[in-house]
Amino acid sequence: MARISGRIGTLILLLLLCAGCGTAGGHVSEQPESTMESAEELYRNALQEDVLVVYTVSTRVVQTKESFESAYPGLAVEVRDLRSPSLIEAVEKEHQSSRPECDVVLCNDNSGQFRQHLVDTGLVVPWLPADIAAHTKDNPDGNGGSFLYEAEMLFYSSLLYDTCPISNLWELTEERFRGRIYMPNPLNSFSTYALCGAMLQHTDELAEAYRLYAGKDLQTAAGETAAECFWRAAAANIIFTNSSDEVIEALSNGDADFGFSVSSKLRYRELGYRIEPVWNLTPFTGCRTSYAVMIAADSRNPNTAKLFIRYIMGETDGKGEGYLPFRTAGTWSARDDVPDGNDVPLSEVDLIVPDQEALILARDKMQTFWSEVIRDSEKQHEEKEN
């Protein structure tokens, strides 16, 4: 009898485990990428679900949350704002612990890490309803799920300059800009990492720009690329920061002449920040970046998640309120039926496009190179202070 009970117990346990695996395996992962579930249908089902948890790198989503909750009474959204590396780590940890909390991710997808850790592993799933997918622009980054384009690019202080005082990127290596250029630490900022990594793929253009700037060929050390040569020289002038916020602050109050920042910070001009973007520069001013919105494969609220994605993408006609907070200066629409938030079209800005595959392959090299550069930079600053 005891033996029979034990067997039954084992069977029940196995069944429970299987049931558990099925649940944790994801409500969403088997969904087709584009479906035609209507907003009404999703809303009806969403009302049976729990609070939607959104992991985001953009605080602008808070405004979307507020209008979403008004548009769909009875639904609630919790926003957790994280930087991209932390966001990826959080989703991975939750998946491993089988205690998923995240439903929707809104993340910078340029460094290759988002793709490598979350998309390729199936921890997040691109999902777009067919009526909206029909209006999305092609994304050369190719992850799917892009809902906004931006750039990591050069800005200058309009408190100090009426017009941009340089025309060639190599001018940033000049002694006159010592300590006058601010840039987020590329080891912690995906956008900056993407820019630095993308430059490794554009060494010929950098070498040619140097020839135009200096009137002679660039001399690099053995095995060194033009990009590494540029960054080593420029790093002597750079103050590394935690984020673009500190960069635009320094530009606005005149502590910096130049700074690399995400282009969406251009919206702070409305608050009186004295910053101007450098749209055109030889050979380029920055790199194109994009933001993805996707559903976590472990989402426990898939209907609310889909409804939220419909909403943040502006609904069928792109005119919905959810997309509005993102249509600001320094951003470009991912939809062909929604105008850009920026006056200057993306095609007229001197930007390079990162190759994510190459970025993934170059990760170790980048990590070693930038660790050295930042340590040297900190040493130099310490010596200067002493």
Partner: protein
């Protein structure tokens, strides 16, 4: 037979005794209840301290808000408490402790154990935060002068920026519980260096000059009074409690345009990114003649714990508190579990204060609900290099990062301090009271007679 039986019994009893491990000495510790600590009994830091000291800590949570009330109650009772810890708003000063002299352990003049490292040793004492959503909605820039601030506050009052159709906006509020929350103290720094913590004396060469008696101070007060008279400074903000201020700022009704504080976490509730995202810091404002100052504060170590004289385990209590002051324990007390919540930096990160990094935070715990440490309760002694070198872990609502970012824009306007005047408590109380009267208009700041009456009172 009975001898054999007794021998067996003896052997059995001896064996039973050998099998039992020695119970660790139990120390009764009272510590204040905190919103940020989920359960002291299973707290990582408490368990670490038990392992390090070999003591069993029986924790009693203090529900009193004021330490004197608790200490009075404790020492008039028979309660078996060996150690009392302070922190997280439940504070005691050295002067207040003197009243309990006989009830405390005093060994070679040491009657308390310090808490140093909850905050930086020195820094900015007051930061202005403004509702950026309201600015955007009204098409306004962040003000940079006192004149621009007046315009912005008027627009806040009249423009219905919260969009509910009601004139319920509070342009600029504060509370009466401390200088850091006072709009007036902040604004006066755009006219003259105003340090209320040092009785409003100047610094360095002017350390003996009472700034509260200068014409510039008077001009600043006139400006503050005008804002008050126009309904731009919240009348309730002169006297309400800190808790009331928090409720107002965190209200989903979106009621507040601006407030000041030493740390944003003193006002915004934890886990509230929506509210945090709304407020941005404003750099010190330039006054009519371009004066702009940031308030410098020195954060002296506070009292972390005391041992009661009635304790029968004074040696064990001292062991616990001295362990807490060691670097290893202090780093747990401040940052959590090494290797999980933080690591020592390899030098490739940037501190939240813009300098070289020493600590890389993995999970930011300070002023969040957690169970890794006591969020600043009890003794600790964190070396300054770790406080200054803490990095941002990437969470936009990390209040230490937000404060650090804000402080950077105040740094330029901080005085370099060589000499400060001692605080004169009586003088401070007199000036504080006069300030309120001037701001409310109960005394006319523009009347020379009244001004001299004020100066006379300060002089005596």
């Amino acid at each position: 037979m009975s001898r054999r039986f007794l021998s067996c019994l003896m052997i059995l009893l001896l064996l039973a005794g050998c099998g039992r491990t020695a119970e660790p000495p139990v120390l009764h510790v009272a510590l204040p209840w905190s919103d940020y600590v989920t359960d002291v009994n299973s707290n990582y830091y408490i368990r670490y301290l038990e392992q390090r000291t070999g003591l069993k800590l029986e924790c009693t949570l203090i529900r009193h808000r004021r330490s004197e009330e608790y200490l009075d109650a404790l020492f008039s009772s028979e309660a078996d408490i060996d150690v009392v810890m302070f922190g997280n708003g439940f504070q005691v000063t050295r002067e207040e402790l003197e009243a309990y002299g006989d009830a405390l352990v005093t060994d070679q003049g040491v009657d308390h154990y310090i808490n140093s490292g909850s905050v930086r040793r020195s820094g900015v004492g007051q930061i202005l935060w403004i509702n950026s959503r309201w600015l955007m909605k009204l098409g306004l820039s962040i003000p940079s002068t006192t004149g621009e601030l007046r315009d912005v506050l008027r627009a806040f009052r009249d423009g219905d920026p919260n969009g509910n159709g009601l004139a319920d906006e509070i342009p600029f509020t504060g509370c009466g519980e401390g200088y850091a929350w006072s709009p007036a103290e902040f604004l006066l720094n755009s006219f003259v260096y105003n340090d209320p913590y040092h009785s409003r004396y100047g610094v360095n060469d002017e350390a003996d000059t009472l700034m509260a008696g200068t014409d510039a101070f008077r001009e600043g007060l006139s400006y503050v009074h005008d804002l008050y008279a126009e309904g731009l400074i919240d009348p309730a903000g002169l006297s309400m409690s800190g808790q009331e201020l928090c409720e107002l700022v965190n209200s989903p009704a979106d009621l507040v345009g601006a407030f000041t504080t030493a740390s944003i976490s003193d006002v915004i509730y934890p886990g509230n990114p929506e509210i945090l995202a709304k407020y941005v810091h404003v750099a010190p404002l330039a006054g009519p003649d371009g004066t702009r100052n940031a308030l410098y504060v020195e954060n002296t170590p506070s009292i972390g714990a005391i041992i009661t004289a009635r304790s029968t385990k004074k040696k064990e209590a001292a062991l616990l508190l001295e362990t807490m002051l060691e670097e290893e324990a202090s780093l747990i007390a401040r940052f959590g579990e090494e290797g999980v919540d933080w690591d020592f930096s390899e030098g490739t990160d940037v501190s939240v204060y813009g300098g070289p990094s020493t600590i890389v935070t993995r999970n930011y715990l300070w002023n969040t609900v957690q169970n890794k440490h006591l969020n600043g309760i009890g003794p600790m002694n964190v070396p300054e290099r770790y406080i200054e070198g803490v990095t941002w872990n990437g969470i936009n609502s990390d209040t230490e990062y937000i404060n650090g970012h804000a402080e950077m824009s105040y740094q330029t306007y901080l005085p370099v301090i060589n000499r400060l005047h001692e605080r004169d408590q009586k003088l401070s109380e007199k000036t504080d009271a006069w300030l309120i009267r001037f701001i409310r208009g109960e005394k006319d700041i523009r009347s020379d007679r009244i001004w001299h009456e004020y100066l006379d009172e300060l002089a005596h």
